[in-house]
Symmetry: C2
Subunit: 706 residues, 2 copies
């Protein structure tokens, strides 16, 4: 990874296109740099001015007496390439190209953008943008952007592909007093992209949670490698926009981004331990939770309420969010029974009743936070005549310090009468909501992250294969190519599959009835015979298939009948011969497939196979890149096929490890050979010992070769 | 329906337990009555006082010079029964029993509550509660409750099973300035319940939307009848709490409510046209939308934005919420192209660009609102240097009046700089959100309601059956009863099914090989023979089943073999004979079933049948009560079975009308005979012409008889 430390802690910043005129972008950037408290050198570059906002001006970056770390470019697009060239010559390390008018405006802009990239490579500069609002860091501190002011200082890094979104969030952050460590506008991402900024934020000691607004991922395979490591360190929450078909169109007209398919993004985020926010509110609810509270040890939550209805709503939400109600020990329950009024509920949710003053909340909260089964807590308060919202808030702040390892959330259900209390809570880092549901959604996100992080740490990569296996596949593909085909025949897919240890039902290409009988005798009856011809797709329609052949005589007759029928119905079709395949006993029918995602590479599918694949849609997905054994196991358990494999209604369980291995081999094959465009193993039959693919389809495409 | 007009527009109100002491509930009620502006007579009842808050006191309700319309009871529980008795004698029409200490505290309280109900019946009084906060109406106006103050006047009726929830919402309503027409605390619902209050609100000209917080439904079958009619008039939105297993426990410890199963509630709400809110925020987002905006004509929405990112997020949300992006006419698109800058996007979402002043929003909004395809519109605004949030808001208010029939929503994405504009919008009834997603969720709810309401108006009830059919079923059940059984035998289920016109594969009970052959010859080969004995459940295990019998000889042999095997393996089991059934050709296997819900009565299931029913869980549900032909048709389309029935992969479509008819007949049978506890038709085989049940199971239970 390239080191972006200097980009975010520069010793010197030049502003090319700096201006004295208020309202000009080049002026806003200067004003922000001055007001941000940046302690390094600032060099406004302007041909005519002597100084701007007290900083000495230079007519060109080349006149600046040192090689600056960061040059912010805010000149018209036509001048940008020349300016970048001068920066390169002057030894600038990073460019932040505010200027718009590149890829997003069409062909000419794209060429200009490519020119910028070429110059950056030549001079070993890295670039943010073009077409950005800029970047800022509240701890360095500096603000090299044209934002109207800066956000409060805090621990959230916000990385945005949309400049407007960054401006909107900045404006909003001030009214809710939400602090940020960094804000980064990525613009067209011609050079540096989300992967670089996420990695940099993961290394930044002032950042504790990383938020992204993304419309696409620039380099999916690098994302899979790097972000996985980053999320071992810090929670990463992404709102991926452009998920809808219509949304994807809007994305591509907006920044020229090519939105990948939704399922691949979902899978990529999960495999990398990234939390995917459903909407804007969730994005920030999660951020606030992570910034202020420890990560819960598990999903058991205690709820304390002063009224029944809100307690029920919270309990419903616990189930909906896949959390669990903590089961208190007998000691806790009897402590509660001893110290709460007799009508109070001492089970979870604990109901301290409508007349509860702060002290009664204290009794309940101390008891449940001390209980081992409590891994997080939510306190609900609705206003009654005797409620003490401020005192109760103070108590929560105290408890938060005492039980620092257990996340504590609050829902103050009401309005005016609770504002003082809820403000106090928020100020002291206890996330507080009007209604309880968002609190539980946020806690659930934290638990999910904690599980994903654990899985990342424990993950075991799938086995690589030997060079010999690859040689055999290459040789087969060469045969296919020489034959000017892109779809493999049955015996070819068998060669490829077997080379990678993917079990397939034996299949042989034969050219005479005698040879067919010989193969059948060797593999054992019953067998199937199928015509092998690149021109015959629907073999059954031309009498090209004969099943359930039980003897040498039947095989011989079948061979002759197939040949006769095919010659009569498809005269002139090139015939490679006839394929002899062993008929396999019945078992659970599965599908294992691979399709190639534009962003993230091979996407592996698993589920119930056979003729109803499209009807049942019982399929789960994982990306091959970085795939772990645990990923595969989880992928299997997500399907209904898993219920069958475990042994449904008393049937013998199937050999799941051999299915895991087969999936791993399919993934490895797809990674080793980017020219494989698609692969379908359907059905794969699972038995109590082993699994066998009956039909394997492989299509190659040389467009996909890099 | 009983008329509650006098309850909500009383001419006189007595407060029994009125008090002069501040802090006492009996004082709060008096203070609220005085402050509410109630213009009728108020009679405080108190033994010792002469007057309270300026109202003349009476020592007893019997001393009051007129028969009062509403008596609010706030005396200790022990006195409540006597007080109710006196109210009855004094000719009171409605009781509002604030007092707690009834069903919710156990056995003794339950008895006391039943006593209250008995007195009410005797004197023809109706009762709210017991255990309530009270009721209020801001238009009458009056406030007969101990709420701290009243909500702003408005058009929302809020009906709450939780008093704390009502207090919390009231407190909150004042800080967000949300108006209510009525607030009703239902408490233990010993007499009047949600059905009565929903109906009353549907008749109230001051109410335009009805909100409920419910923990259970008291009388499910009446709910299905009445609420369906109410929601033809006004939108009804319900938050049903206690959906989780844990939540259901909390509900039953809270108000002694017995929470019904979630699926039955979901189905009931849908069949009644009720919108089910997922959480508290949704409940009020929907209410605000309905109160302020017309119901959209359909799901086509236009989005106008001044920045790309938020536009993409909104577009994603359109898809997620099952809305559709309006497709503008060529005229609209060219108007937009003529009047917007060249970089603007003139397709939906319309991007007026970051430098858009209010006037540019006007151009765009006028064009898209005038377009026929636009059925609702959402305007997004993020802050930039030149944005005019207030002017844009003023323009939206103007457009809202001009295009009054098209709902208009806004999302002002930002904070401080947008507050003035967004406040202006809210004040003028344009629902405005920080982020766009909740706007689209609310619009989607409106579209859903509009569809449901249309369906309710067009609904066609299922056909009733003749008395003769019922006689045949009764006779069969009588035979079963005489035999001291609760599970019907094959030939008995056939009698019942055929009486109701449910097609079953012919089955006959025979007692000799000759009779078996005779039946087989009459129905045609192949046939199946099965042993008929109430003691033999697993017939195959004792050699009690022979399938695929093709001739008289095979039938004769099978008969003798079954008898021999059963006599050998199950000596002494009572044998009724052997059942002869026709073997049916293959077709799509379905299941049609019935289970009885505690709250809502017969719940009908439909889906893919056969041995994988439990694995595939491809089942949809409807309640039999009030079931319409349209409900059944929709129920079928919700399943994957529907894909098969329409003709999957080129197979001939099945006879869907005959399946609709069969489901209707099963529903009618379940309604006519509450003693049928469960019914399973699995499989039902669907053919291109007709459908036939192969196996019908009916279990009766006399606990279910009312």
């Amino acid at each position: 990874m390239s080191d972006l430390k200097l980009l975010f802690s520069p010793r010197s910043i030049a502003v090319i296109g700096a201006s004295k005129k208020e309202g000009k972008i080049g002026h806003s950037i200067m004003a922000n740099l001055r007001e941000s408290g940046f302690t390094g050198q600032v060099y406004p570059i302007n041909l005519k001015e002597k100084e701007i906002l007290g900083f000495k001006c230079y007519p060109s970056i080349k006149e600046v007496p040192e090689a600056v770390d960061v040059a912010v470019i805010a000149v018209p697009a036509e001048l940008s390439v020349n300016v970048a060239q001068e920066c390169g010559e002057a030894g600038v390390k990073f460019l932040v190209v505010i200027t718009a008018g590149f890829k997003e405006v069409g062909e000419e802009g794209l060429k200009r953008e490519q020119e910028l990239v070429r110059i950056c490579k030549k001079y070993n500069m890295r670039m943010v943008g073009p077409n950005v609002v800029g970047i800022l860091d509240t701890h360095t501190p500096f603000n090299a952007s044209f934002t109207p002011g800066a956000p409060p200082q805090g621990k959230i890094a916000f990385i945005s592909q949309s400049g407007a979104m960054l401006l909107a969030i900045l404006d909003w952050s001030r009214s809710v007093n939400l602090g940020f460590s960094r804000m980064i506008s990525m613009g067209n991402k011609a050079d540096l992209n989300e992967v670089d900024f996420i990695w940099a934020a993961s290394e930044d000691p002032q950042t504790s949670v990383i938020l992204c607004y993304l419309e696409d991922v620039t380099d999916g395979e690098r994302f899979l490698e790097v972000v996985r490591e980053a999320s071992k360190r810090k929670p990463i929450i992404i709102l991926k926009a452009g998920t809808s078909q219509a949304g994807a169109r809007a994305a591509s007209s907006h920044t020229g981004a090519l939105a990948g398919s939704n399922i691949a993004y979902d899978t990529a985020f999960r495999q990398c331990g990234v939390l995917r926010a459903e909407n804007m509110a969730d994005l920030f609810d999660l951020a606030i939770a992570f910034v202020n509270q420890p990560i819960p040890k598990g999903k058991n939550i205690a709820i304390i309420t002063n009224s029944g209805g809100p307690g029920i709503i919270a309990t419903d939400s616990v189930e909906r969010e896949n959390l669990e109600m903590a089961k208190f020990s007998k000691e806790t329950t009897s402590t509660l029974r001893d110290h709460l009024p007799p009508e109070a509920s001492v089970y979870n949710p604990v109901d301290v009743l409508g007349d509860a003053p702060a002290d009664r909340y204290r009794t309940a909260l101390e008891a449940v936070l001390a209980d081992e089964s409590t891994q997080s807590a939510l306190v609900l308060l609705s206003p009654t005549a005797v409620t003490e919202p401020v005192k109760t808030a103070e108590l929560l702040v105290e408890m938060r310090q005492k039980y620092a390892e257990k996340p504590l959330f609050a829902s103050y259900m009401g309005g005016e009468t609770l504002v003082e209390g809820s403000t106090l809570l928020t100020q002291h880092g206890i996330p507080t909501y009007t209604f309880p549901e968002p609190a539980l959604k946020a806690i659930s996100g934290m638990v999910k992250y904690s599980k994903m992080r654990k899985a990342l740490h424990e993950a075991k990569a799938i086995e690589s294969l030997t060079e010999a296996s690859r040689q055999e596949v290459k040789a087969t593909f060469y045969d296919v190519l020489r034959d000017k085909r892109l779809v493999l025949l049955g015996n070819e897919t068998t060669r490829v599959a077997e080379a990678y240890g993917i079990p397939v039902a034996p299949i042989y290409l034969v050219n005479s009835p005698e040879e067919a009988v010989e193969r059948a005798e060797a593999m054992g009856y019953p067998v199937v015979l199928k015509i092998a011809s690149p021109k015959i797709i629907h073999k059954t329609d031309v009498g090209g298939v004969k099943v359930g052949l039980e003897s040498a005589q039947e095989v011989r007759n079948a061979y002759l009948e197939i040949m006769e029928s095919v010659n009569r119905l498809m005269p002139g079709a090139p015939i490679y011969g006839i394929e002899v395949q062993k008929m396999m006993p019945k078992g659970n029918e599965l599908i294992i497939g691979m399709t190639r995602d534009l962003q993230f590479g091979p996407l592996i599918a698993f589920g119930m196979g056979g003729i109803y694949v499209n009807l049942l849609k019982d399929v789960s997905f994982r990306l091959a890149k970085g795939l772990t054994v645990q990923d595969i196991e989880q992928m299997i358990t997500e399907t209904k096929a898993y219920t069958l494999l475990r042994g449904y209604r008393g049937s013998t369980p199937s050999d799941i490890p051999s299915i895991v291995k087969t999936i791993a081999r399919v993934a490895q094959l797809s990674l080793d050979f980017p020219e494989i465009a698609e692969m379908d193993l359907n059905p794969v039959i699972a038995y109590p010992d082993g699994a066998v693919a009956l039909d394997v389809k492989i299509t190659i495409s040389y467009d996909k070769l890099k």
